[in-house]
């Protein structure tokens, strides 16, 4: 099946290798070790042998992240109206039907509420398996509704993205979702409600250049390919290959664009700590008071 990457060309899957679906592959595409009966792979789609973060479906991702049974989906039945009546080799509507059939989802973004280490959150997870996680009207609308819900209820928003960018088949409507989602995040910021953005492999184009880059805190998964223009576009523009490591999460950390790189299996704990900080901001001075722990051995990094 063909994938659509919006206005940027398909990312090169150099770092790390990707697994096309949630079906258990025989072995890790990076290190070649078998993934059968790999418990870490089973839960997180992470190879125990080499730590490669492989593709994970949104529902599995949510299940591995939030408190068990706490996820309540919102706006599950929002469908694209194909505003351009777009067709290339085949009508967009038929592609959408096929994507829905294959993924079991109405569009690329799943939203809802959940608990995370006991903290209530609004959650939005973009699924790369649905048309490359591209952002059309439905993705934009659902992200905005999630941000509005977070704002109204004053509970933190968490977004997790993997996306090739805008959904070209929805033309300018798609581009305008960048403005619309940025505006919704602005209002969330103005209301002082925390927003944490998680970038996963791959994240490029219009999603990266809008809400996903506007988190109060932005974290990325190790090795994820992230950038504004996809590597092929940049290479075409430059007329030479990219320097090694470009477009990786590690590159973004070095260049100051993200707050941290967090392995998928550690994400629940890290987000739990962050949420504890943000959610107790109205209830300070109820702590245990000043208490000294043993000074650490000197030597850090």
């Amino acid at each position: 099946m063909r994938r659509f990457f919006g206005f940027r060309s398909a990312p090169a899957f150099a770092i790390p290798p990707d697994v096309a679906s949630d079906d258990v592959p025989p072995s890790c595409p990076r290190c070649g070790v078998s993934l059968v009966e790999d418990a870490r792979y089973e839960r997180y789609r992470v190879c125990s042998a080499c730590g490669a973060h492989l593709a994970i479906g949104s529902r599995r991702r949510i299940a591995a992240l939030v408190d068990e049974g706490s996820f309540r989906e919102t706006d599950a039945k929002l469908f694209s109206a194909d505003p351009l009546s777009f067709t290339d080799d085949a009508p967009y509507r038929l592609r959408l039907d096929e994507q829905r059939r294959v993924t079991g989802q109405a569009d690329a973004l799943i939203t809802g509420t959940a608990g995370l280490h006991g903290h209530k959150i609004v959650l939005a997870a973009l699924d790369f398996a649905f048309m490359g996680g591209s952002m059309g009207l439905v993705v934009g609308e659902k992200l905005v509704r999630a941000a509005e819900l977070a704002r109204e209820r004053r509970i933190p928003l968490l977004s997790i993205v993997a996306s090739g960018g805008a959904r070209m088949q929805e033309g300018m409507y798609s581009l305008l979702q960048m403005a619309k989602t940025a505006a919704a995040i602005q209002r969330l910021h103005a209301a002082g409600v925390p927003y944490v953005s998680v970038l996963t492999h791959p994240t490029t184009g219009g999603v990266f250049a809008s809400f996903a880059s506007l988190g109060d805190v932005i974290v990325a998964e190790p090795g994820a390919l992230i950038g504004f223009a996809g590597p092929r576009v940049v290479e075409h523009f430059l007329g030479r290959p990219l320097p090694p490591g470009s477009h990786s999460a590690e590159f973004l950390l070095e260049h100051g664009m993200i707050d941290a790189i967090v392995p998928r299996a550690e994400l629940p704990a890290t987000l739990g700590t962050l949420l504890r900080h943000y959610t107790r901001s109205d209830a300070r001075h109820d702590g245990p008071g000043y208490e000294l722990r043993e000074p650490a051995a000197i030597g850090h990094d």
Partner: protein, 315 residues
């Protein structure tokens, strides 16, 4: 790049691809031509105060229609040398950060904002990635969405993707008749859809990127007519643009007077609603099977449930 003789073949009903060529025409008036003709007291303000001064996206203070405005625009060159200096109108992250700085400057002093859009897109270079092109564009979108002064944007040539939108989150959006505004260039679109950039003309049609298309969608507020293509009659195009900008700016400043906190909150709310309601979607499972031709027969529903035919625009 464009064969100047070719456009004479552009007859009464130009195709989308004709518009693309007109929008990119090297002799078409560029930002500084509009600026020089329409404003006085220009003081260019340079730099992002952090890394550099982008020559592809420039801005400053000027007098327009009797008041001080902040003006921002992409600047293309008129020849190869100028184009190299202007990076072909492709802004880098420091350009968007300068834009953000100047937007906040405008807000601080209550100056309305006018932006002139004319770019093939944000620069996709490695340096731009290193300095956070995506981050810079996202932050510019957010800043412009939040801006406490009225804003009008006008597409005077190419409206190329996120690099155009970054200075396009305005209260009013105008396009000259022979300009385009698109999520991707027709060439890039054709390359992705058919792996054949040569089918760009076909893509241009499919993508619905002309001023007329976007007016029909309710995405833009006004099409500034070009009786003749702007590069043939620049004065007419500039005059028409100036008149339209002045009209929209007067409407906006009448409705949202500067230095009035209540009006500023209403302005922000109106701008949010403007972008919030763009689009169409269905709130229930599609019930009919579509024909292979992809004809639209199923009802479209806005989020409130009532039938909605793409976006409605009051402006």
């Amino acid at each position: 790049m464009i064969d100047v003789a070719e456009h004479s073949a552009v007859a009464a009903t130009p195709t989308a691809w004709d518009r693309v060529k007109l929008a990119r025409h090297s002799e078409r008036p560029h930002f500084l031509d509009y600026l020089e003709a329409l404003t006085t007291d220009w003081v260019e303000l340079h730099g992002d105060r952090a890394f550099g001064d982008d020559r592809a996206l420039i801005g400053g203070l000027a007098t327009f229609d009797g008041q001080t405005v902040m003006v921002l625009g992409h600047q293309k060159g008129n020849d190869t040398k100028e184009n190299i200096a202007r990076n072909f109108g492709m802004a880098r992250p420091e350009g968007y950060r300068k834009a953000e700085r100047l937007m906040r400057h405008a807000e601080k002093f209550g100056f309305p904002l006018i932006t002139f859009i004319d770019t093939p897109g944000a620069e996709p270079g490695i340096g731009s990635e290193e300095r956070g092109q995506g981050t810079a564009i996202a932050e510019s979108l957010l800043t412009m969405a939040d801006l406490g002064v009225p804003s009008v944007a006008v597409v005077i040539g190419e409206g190329g993707s996120g690099g155009a939108l970054a200075i396009g989150v305005a209260d009013r959006l105008l396009m000259l008749e022979n300009t385009i505004y698109a999520v991707a260039s027709p060439e890039a679109c054709a390359a992705i859809l058919w792996k054949d950039a040569g089918r760009a003309a076909e893509a241009a049609e499919t993508m619905r990127i002309t001023a007329a298309d976007l007016a029909a969608f309710g995405i833009i507020d006004e099409v500034v007519p070009e009786a003749s293509p702007a590069h043939e009659r620049p004065k007419d195009a500039i005059q028409g643009t100036g008149a339209a900008l002045a009209r929209h700016l007067r409407e906006l400043t009448a409705e949202f007077p500067p230095h009035d906190a209540g009006a500023i909150e209403r302005l922000r709310a109106a701008r949010y609603e403007r972008f919030r309601r763009i689009g169409a979607w269905r709130e229930a499972e599609p019930t009919t099977r579509h024909s292979d031709e992809g004809g639209i027969s199923a009802p479209r529903n806005g989020r409130s449930g009532e039938p909605r035919e793409s976006a409605q625009r009051s402006g």
